[in-house]
């Protein structure tokens, strides 16, 4: 396996393993597809179309009709992601020299196992709102964990990255961490609303707070580090995703009201609610990446050996 070894400015020794990184990316992509599949189950009200768990009436091939198509497909993709995660965790444990990465792999494995258990409980307990909301929330957390693993195994993360001074307040790193926390809480509120734990108001209030924080973070990165490509990219993606998510949120809400008199879920409502849900996951992943990049590149005050943004551009 082709690897490269780097000693970066923090003195960390790491080995870039392209195979492991590509595999982690593939697992993250499959996890995203699993999020789509899960959102389709909820939006199509198909959550209990297979009332037995883990098998479908003792079989792995139920009749694929109606809501069973969504429910069973979700379980098959989930099992596949489970296996991919077992391989990822094992590979990290055996190949990674960074101890915290090995434990992160195990954490991902624990999360996907817990997800499976929560999924089973939602079926066996007839979808109690708290369990369903926990299942939806852990899904997002697991996705973020796998995305983080892919990021930590990237060449960029393990390469020699000069640190930059961030002397303004609030510090970009602090803004980023507050934003990712707010986005995560907003996802919990969204999941609780979607699974009928409580109404829309908390999620709307959360949307306002998240929007403010995302704009503050993206704006700070853009103003302070406009010539630093990774930070500029993070700011751009944050702007794009928050704009999309606000539009999607309004559209999804409208579609739910429009679809209410219909006897079954209609395509426009299903599409908008699913896209809104998975865009929320992308926003969480993006704010997480932004936080990691900020912590990797920025220091709140000047340290010996750190570089200003203009010096970096001149190099």
């Amino acid at each position: 396996m082709k690897t490269s070894s780097n000693q970066n400015s923090r003195g960390l020794q790491a080995e870039f393993a392209p195979g492991l990184h590509r595999y982690a990316l593939f697992t993250a992509l499959c996890t995203f597809l699993l999020l789509v599949a899960g959102a389709l189950v909820t939006s199509n009200d198909a959550g209990l179309s297979v009332p037995t768990w883990p098998l479908a009436w003792g079989s792995v091939t139920p009749p694929m009709v109606g809501g069973i198509v969504y429910e069973w497909s979700h379980r098959v993709i989930a099992a596949s992601v489970g296996f991919l995660t077992i391989i990822l965790a094992t590979w990290l444990w055996m190949a990674e020299k960074r101890p915290w990465m090995r434990w992160l792999g195990l954490a991902a494995l624990g999360a996907v196992i817990a997800q499976g258990i929560l999924g089973g409980l939602t079926v066996r307990m007839f979808q109690p709102p708290a369990v369903s909301a926990a299942h939806a929330t852990l899904a997002q957390l697991f996705f973020s964990t796998v995305v983080a693993i892919a990021f930590f195994t990237s060449f960029w993360w393990q390469s020699n990255i000069p640190e930059l001074e961030d002397s303004r307040t609030p510090h970009s790193r602090s803004l980023a961490i507050w934003t990712v926390a707010a986005v995560f809480l907003q996802l919990i509120l969204g999941a609780a609303f979607r699974h009928k734990a409580f109404g829309i108001i908390p999620h709307l209030v959360g949307a306002v707070i998240v929007t403010i924080l995302v704009f503050m973070t993206a704006g700070a990165l853009k103003r302070r580090f406009s010539n630093v490509q990774p930070l500029r990219k993070c700011a751009r993606f944050l702007h794009i995703l928050i704009g999309m998510q606000l539009l999607l949120g309004a559209s999804a809400w409208w579609s739910r009201i429009y679809a209410a008199p219909f006897p079954q879920p209609i395509a426009i409502m299903v599409t908008l609610t699913v896209v809104h849900t998975v865009t929320g996951a992308l926003l969480l992943a993006t704010t997480l990446i932004t936080t990691l990049v900020s912590y990797r590149m920025l220091r709140p005050q000047a340290l010996a050996g750190s570089t200003s943004a203009s010096e970096l551009v001149a190099q």
Partner: protein, 266 residues
């Protein structure tokens, strides 16, 4: 090595957790012992003095138009249907007669006991709709769920007072027999395979109830003399109550009228 030991422990805990939730898979209990219908070993109705209450239920106004149901995704549902499927929330007959209303005695039968009938109430799935749309059944009385379609359904009542259950029924499967142990008017029923399928089961603790047909009429016979609270319940318009006093061998007429605006809550 230390790291391998912790890794193995984590995997073992995960596998154990999977095992305890994966094992079993036994079905939910299909029947429960019914709660006593009324007071223990109570009075029985004397046919020599029993009266009756009859009447009708009407909708005063224009009913909402039934919406068409799109069954294109499931060809087995459209097969055999002679008419397009529509929603059944509000079904009216001539002169505004309102169907699918559960008319029942809410109070006034204290001291009487009524054994649960053994004849099952049939609940059919045909053309991917439930028949009847609103079923009335006594506490402890068996409900026989039948699938006459060439596709798999599931029957999922969502009660508040009774035990919830959710069972699948493939085509050609044997009838499913269940009963409910507590009075509840009314339990929504849905099919998670076909989300447009909705119905209600009204579980009453005595035999004095009826679900109206398209003529909107009801007739509660063999009622002992007394003063009763009579309720007419509709899935969209909610409950409406009236008090009626029935003397020995007396027939009383009670009519209910609903307005098209939905009630504030059931």
């Amino acid at each position: 090595m230390k790291k391998s030991k912790w890794g193995m422990y984590s995997l073992a805990i995960g596998a154990f957790a999977l095992a305890i939730t994966g094992c079993g898979g036994k079905k939910e209990e299909s029947t429960e012992s019914p709660a006593p219908a009324n007071a223990p070993a109570g009075k029985t109705v004397d046919p020599a003095t029993a009266g009756e209450v009859s009447g009708s239920v009407k909708l005063d106004g224009t009913p909402p138009k039934p919406r068409p149901i799109n069954m294109a995704a499931e060809p087995a549902c459209s097969k055999g249907r002679t008419t397009p499927a529509t929603t059944e929330e509000v079904v009216t007959g001539d002169g505004g007669a309102l169907a699918n209303v559960v008319v029942y005695v809410k109070s006034g039968l204290d001291g009487y006991s009524f054994p649960a009938p053994t004849t099952p109430v049939k609940f059919d799935q045909q053309g991917c709709q439930y028949h009847p749309h609103v079923a009335g059944v006594q506490v402890g009385q068996p409900i026989q769920v039948v699938n006459d379609d060439q596709t798999t359904h599931n029957i999922h009542p969502i009660p508040k007072e009774n035990r919830e259950w959710n069972e699948s029924q493939p085509p050609g499967a044997a009838p499913i027999e269940k009963n409910f142990a507590r009075e509840e008017i009314a339990i929504p029923v849905k099919c998670n395979v076909h989300p447009w399928m909705k119905a209600y089961m009204a579980v009453v603790g005595h035999p004095y109830f009826q679900v109206t047909e398209k003529d909107g009429k009801f007739n509660l016979k063999n009622l002992p003399p007394g003063t009763y609270t009579l309720v007419a319940w509709h899935e969209l318009y909610g409950p409406s109550e009236q008090t009626v006093t029935v003397g020995p061998k007396e027939t009383k007429n009670v009519n209910f009228t609903f307005k098209p605006a939905p009630a504030a809550g059931d």
